[in-house]
């Protein structure tokens, strides 16, 4: 079974040597020592805590899929047997791409379908003003030169040219502004290949076994473990859903980021209706704030933050009262991605430029983090909110920022993992893994980190894949290889999310390119304290929480030792299953 694999082409990225490996690394096999990788003193600091894809166990080929993790090992199997015993097996759904019909005319109006009818100038001007604002009005006046005085045509043409010049200048500063709405969402979405993906968005409920799936045809389906009814949400304004999130500390409220607005659905869990009316949805709009590409509820459930790449302000909403406070920062040219730390004290806001911000949510001040390489593509927080992992576009490493209340914040980001392209040689053929990162997800216990790697769409041997790391925060923070999550042959992962309250470890839900949703459990004993579910902020992790944290850290280290010594590791939850 254990095949040695050699490292091709990417020797410069493996700055590790075997002695660094922690004792509980899973079945270290076939590590390849490479030399000459470390150049310069800068990397030496990072050596001890760097992990690279070359250390990963070999992914299976030939149509085998990742089923689950148990005993520190990923278990593979054929797709038919992908059923594990759990308390509630989340339904593995399948939405074939062919059954879903996207909107045929996404943006431009239905003008083309009708015969051209000449209205009066006034009517046309009013229509142009309504449809396209000032520029449309000027354009209309300029084009109807036979009906208006010459001086008016001339002056409006001049103003129009000036406007266009200014907007092109603005766009040259922020190139993303030239994209159309759909393209912009696709560009900044956390979903890989958003525009043709059958599943546009996925959201687990933070407290119960319930999730929402947004599909290509702009409908949202809600699946619940406790009822057989799957409500379908449709709304006139629900176009090109880019993000969804359930409100914490609430059973029924789902926020949906749409093309023109924010929709807040109130789906009564006791209702028997399969098609909640659009009266159940609350529409939140703000001029100039569309398309909305990212939303984040505060963990205490009181505030919602929304972001649009077009708007330099991010909106803080009091949803019930429909009051919004714009937080304007001009640099960056917009906000693309938001992520609230689980303890509620900090908020990551990425911009389309090579800059991201970390807001502190008590007084709403922000730190600027200019990155050199590119914009921040994705980020995720550790459960206690003290550590931020992020990756930048075009970069193949994961960075970490450590925040603490004592020292007043980090000075620079540290590289914690190297994801550069690595070739695994097999008898059947080569497999290239690595490259740019699409999204990051950290499970709520803080023990597993899933990284969705983009791959290369042209190459058949270099497809998108999910790499899963184990994470340890003591004595030093480090990432250890766990394995790859692969789907059926010919499919690639599109988006992923950890279930927020899985009892026996972590449960990763992956949506695949063929429209299938599967769930990959990682069984392990949870030692660390979970993030306080009620969003206590620093509070809970404060005086008492600290002691607990330290204790459990000790414990986890001890057990890790025991783990390797015994070589076996049984989890009570799955031992029964093993005996079956």
């Amino acid at each position: 079974m254990k095949k040695n694999h050699a490292l091709h082409g990417s020797a410069s990225f493996s700055p590790l040597n075997a002695t660094v490996f922690p004792y509980d690394a899973p079945n270290p096999r076939g590590y390849v020592k490479t030399h000459g990788a470390i150049s310069g003193a800068r990397l030496k600091v990072a050596v001890r805590s760097m992990c690279s894809l070359a250390l990963f166990p070999l992914p299976r080929l030939g149509g085998q899929v990742t089923l689950y993790e148990a005993n520190n090992e990923l278990v593979w199997g054929n797709s038919t047997e992908c059923n594990e015993k759990q308390h509630w097996t989340p339904p593995s759904l399948h939405f074939p791409r062919e059954t879903l019909k996207p909107h045929s005319c996404p943006e431009s109006s239905s003008k083309a379908a009708f015969l051209d009818h000449r209205d009066t100038l006034w009517m046309r001007s009013a229509g142009a003003w309504r449809d396209a604002g000032l520029a449309g009005l000027l354009d209309e006046i300029t084009n109807s030169s036979e009906e208006v005085p010459k001086w008016l045509t001339l002056s409006s043409g001049c103003v129009l040219a000036l406007l266009r010049w200014m907007s092109s200048f603005h766009c040259s500063l922020f190139p993303h502004l030239t994209l159309s709405g759909e393209d912009m969402v696709a560009e900044f979405s956390q979903v890989l290949g958003w525009s043709d993906s059958a599943i546009r968005s996925f959201a687990w409920h933070p407290h119960t076994d319930k999730f929402a799936v947004a599909l290509l045809d702009d409908s949202i389906k809600i699946y619940n473990s406790k009822s057989a009814i799957t409500p379908t949400l449709k709304h006139r304004l629900q176009r090109s859903v880019s993000a969804m999130q359930w409100k914490p500390l609430c059973a029924s409220t789902l926020a949906v980021a749409c093309h023109t607005c924010l929709l807040i659905w109130h789906v009564d869990p006791n209702s028997l209706s399969t098609r909640p009316s659009s009266g159940c949805a609350q529409v939140l709009t703000h001029p100039g704030h569309s398309p909305v590409t990212s939303i984040a509820w505060s963990p205490s459930g009181s505030l919602l933050v929304s972001a649009s790449p077009v708007d330099t302000a991010m909106m803080v909403w009091n949803v019930a009262a429909e009051i919004c406070v714009p937080l304007q920062r001009v640099g960056g040219g917009g906000v693309t991605n938001l992520s609230w730390s689980p303890d509620g004290s900090r908020l990551l806001a990425a911009t389309p430029s090579a800059l991201f911000r970390v807001w502190e949510t008590k007084m709403w001040t922000c730190e600027r983090w200019p990155c050199l390489k590119g914009r921040c593509q994705s980020g995720c927080w550790s459960p206690d909110g003290s550590r931020l992992l992020f990756c930048v576009q075009g970069g193949t490493v994961i960075y970490a920022l450590t925040f603490s209340d004592m020292t007043g914040g980090p000075k620079s980001a540290a590289v914690v993992a190297d994801l550069s392209e690595t070739t695994f040689s097999e008898p059947d053929g080569d497999l290239i893994v690595g490259g740019e990162v699409q999204s990051l997800a950290w499970d709520p216990t803080g023990e597993r980190l899933a990284v969705l790697l983009k791959g290369n769409a042209e190459s058949s041997i270099h497809s998108a894949i999910i790499a899963v790391f184990k994470t340890r925060s003591s004595p030093i923070f480090e990432l250890l290889p766990c394995g790859f999550v692969k789907g059926e042959a010919g499919t690639e992962p599109r988006l992923m999310q950890f279930q927020p309250h899985f009892q026996h470890g972590a449960l990763l839900t992956v949506c695949w390119s063929n429209g299938r949703i599967s769930h990959v459990p990682f069984y392990f004993v949870v030692f660390s304290v979970r993030a306080s579910p009620h969003g206590q902020g620093r509070g809970c992790a404060g005086v008492v929480g600290e002691e607990v944290d330290e204790g459990s850290g000790e414990f986890s280290r001890g057990s890790g030792r025991w783990d390797t010594a015994a070589g076996v590791w049984d989890h009570p939850g799955i031992s029964a299953q093993a005996s079956e």
């Binding site: 407290h207 500390l249 869990p269 459930g301 505030l303 949803v319 009262a321 714009p326 902020g537």
Partner: protein
């Protein structure tokens, strides 16, 4: 002066300094705005160099400095009015009559008059600085008859002065209608500078739009009635009217783009300076204040959070204390420890007891208010058992909360809360309002508040055109189901003569012939009045006003809920002595009964209808959606407790009904 002589330490130590700081900032911001005004108002496209040199010249003139001084004093005067009239609980009139009464109230009249005068003063300063044709009230002209040089009335100057007066008045009036003096608290905490920066641009936009509206209204008004003040002024000052120029109340005179522009800019300046004082005052007064949880010295005891929370005399202090409680419960572990701590000799959890007791009593008071309102609405028009009738508590009307004239007899908090003692005006309104509004407001203890009138007053019914005239018994029998508001008829001293024969409690009232006759006459008068369109229009209840009025002070409840739930949730891991456990049942049952009352309230018509958005007005409409915020916060608060304690909550002893409700929350089915 004014409210500074109040003895409360908070007014003396905090509110005063905050007000002074806000006034100082608005005065400091005045000179740059004024110089900007000079540049903008004297702008001319064709002579840029002349324009620049002229502006710089004006800036250094003595008259400009003098008018700057006048403007400063005007701003200070306006700021004092802000300080006097501000309130943290908005007053919501239930019908147009109540609104009218508020407009005619002496305090409001004084407010309007002063704003008129100050508006005129500001416009005079603007005229002086603008120079040109606006500079003085009189111009030399050649009189046609005598032929010699003479003094004529400068109508442009008069036009501007009257515009100032009009804008001042409309600012005061609109401010009253839009509750401009209502101070709402921000949903997030920000530094003052950031808040100011965030809303500065909006302020400019807002004043520009409002100024545009005012200019439009003023020009229409001047076009119609401009002759009256002009002739009056020219007569009293013995000035001639120059017949060689177009008078401004004609089409020819008003077709003047530069006049419009200058009027609009000066109106914008006037509104901007006033809005600025309001905005700065709001920012400063709503800044969180950190009350100590406990103090080592006994003389500071009254400044500590547990003591301050129970204080009802100064509303702004109570609100800030509740805000501080909500903030400390979320963000500050060390201060939470102080709340959970035991007293040194004796070992009693005094802090926690005081805090939780006050919050619970606030919430249960709201529950009672909602239940009372619901009872009134539900019993409206229907006969109720006499046992209910005899309870005077249920007789309070929905609108009594609104105008603040009546309070629930059983809630001392309520009476204290609706009063705004920080402002003299607040209490004055309440004192004077009651005789004023009472005869007009249909559901108060008024002769009008009879069931015969009620169908016309209730909004649903009045929308039906046939009801105004048709008075058949069939129709009246159907009405009671539609009535959504109004009062118990016991306040009339007479049982409701409802279509269904009401079981009249004999011992309650002895119907004599005289009273019968009087009542019949009363009915006739009412029946006569009820058919008049104007009366119907005036007494028509504004939809959802009663609902808004019920939740007018709900910001306090929202903070109480947040503070309590966060503290309880934190106590799971932080409360070493278990002080919270003793009060957990009462907190839970209080929240659950409030949840039930709120749920029932939202089933009423108009309760869940969202208000329309008001654009470009400084009046804060946050109070219109407070009830939705309260509902969401309440649910979140209960969930916060249930997700923290989970199955342990089964051990808490609360009534069975509430236990069921709690189970729903534990299963995430609410």
């Amino acid at each position: 002066m004014f409210s500074f002589n109040q003895s409360c330490w908070f007014i003396r130590k905090v509110v005063r300094w905050r007000a002074i700081a806000s006034i100082a900032w608005s005065v400091l911001l005045l000179p740059p705005i004024t110089s900007l005004l000079i540049f903008i108002i004297r702008f001319s496209v064709f002579h840029p160099t002349h324009w620049l040199s002229g502006c710089l010249g004006v800036l250094t003139e003595a008259s400009t400095l003098f008018s700057m001084f006048l403007l400063c004093s005007a701003v200070i005067l306006i700021a004092f009015f802000n300080l006097q009239y501000y309130t943290v609980v908005p007053s919501i009139p239930c019908s147009r009559v109540a609104l009218l009464a508020e407009v005619l109230h002496p305090g409001q009249c004084l407010h309007s008059l002063v704003h008129c005068a100050v508006g005129m003063l500001v416009m005079w300063c603007v005229c002086v600085m603008a120079g040109g044709r606006y500079h003085t009230l009189h111009t030399p002209c050649t009189h046609s008859e005598s032929g010699g040089p003479d003094l004529c009335l400068n109508e442009y100057h008069l036009f501007m002065l009257l515009a100032g007066a009009f804008m001042g008045y409309s600012h005061s009036l609109l401010g009253m209608v839009q509750n401009i003096h209502y101070v709402s608290f921000h949903i997030i905490q920000q530094y003052k500078y950031m808040r100011f920066k965030g809303s500065a641009w909006w302020l400019v936009k807002c004043s520009a739009v409002q100024s545009l509206y005012s200019v439009r209204n003023y020009i229409i008004l001047y076009f119609l009635f401009g002759r009256v003040p002009r002739t009056w002024i020219s007569h009293t000052l013995n000035l001639h009217v120059d017949s060689s120029v177009h008078s401004l109340d004609s089409f020819g005179g008003l077709c003047d783009v530069s006049l419009f522009y200058q009027l609009w800019v000066s109106g914008m300046f006037l509104l901007l300076t006033w809005y600025l004082t309001v905005l700065l005052f709001r920012i400063f007064i709503t800044e969180p204040y950190r009350f100590p949880v406990q103090s080592l010295f006994s003389e500071d005891a009254e400044e500590c959070l547990p003591k301050v929370l129970t204080e009802n005399s100064v509303l702004v202090m109570k609100f800030l204390a509740l805000q501080d409680l909500a903030l400390l419960s979320q963000h500050s572990p060390s201060r939470r420890q102080e709340v959970f701590s035991l007293s040194q000799p004796g070992g009693h959890p005094h802090n926690w007891n005081a805090v939780s007791k006050e919050c619970v009593s606030l919430l249960s008071e709201l529950t009672q208010r909602l239940v009372a309102h619901h009872d009134v609405v539900a019993s409206n028009g229907r006969t109720k058992p006499p046992s209910d009738r005899s309870d005077p508590r249920s007789s309070s009307s929905s609108c009594s909360v609104t105008s603040g004239t009546e309070d629930l007899p059983d809630s001392p908090h309520r009476s204290a809360l609706t009063r705004t003692p920080a402002s003299v005006f607040g209490s004055a309104v309440k004192g004077v309002n009651s005789p004023l509004t009472a005869p007009f407001t249909p559901d108060l203890t008024a002769p009008f508040s009879s069931p015969a009138l009620r169908p016309l007053l209730s909004p649903q019914v009045a929308h039906r055109p046939w009801l105004g005239s048709v008075q058949s018994p069939h129709v009246t029998r159907r009405n009671p189901k539609l009535w959504s508001t109004s009062t118990d008829s016991q306040t009339n001293g007479s049982p409701a003569p409802s279509p269904d024969p009401a079981p009249k409690p004999a011992e309650q009232q002895k119907p004599s012939f005289l009273s019968q006759w009087l009542q019949n006459r009363k009915e006739q008068v009412k029946g006569f009045l009820a058919k008049r369109v104007l009366v119907v229009y005036l007494f028509n209840k504004l939809p959802e006003a009663s609902s808004q009025a019920l939740f007018a002070d709900s910001q306090a409840h929202i903070w109480a809920l947040e503070g309590l739930s966060h503290l309880v949730a934190a106590s799971y891991s932080e409360d070493k002595y278990g002080v919270v456990q003793t009060t957990l049942p009462s907190i839970l049952s209080c929240m659950l009964s409030l949840q039930e009352a709120v749920d029932r309230h939202f089933k009423l018509p108009h309760a869940s209808s969202k208000p329309g958005k008001t654009s470009y007005s400084l009046g804060d409409s946050a109070y219109k959606t407070l009830r939705f915020a309260l509902r969401a916060t309440l649910k979140t608060a209960i969930y916060r407790i249930t997700t923290t304690f989970r199955e342990h909550l089964h051990a808490v002893s609360i009534p069975v009904e509430q236990q069921k409700r709690l189970q729903q929350f534990l299963e995430y089915k609410e």
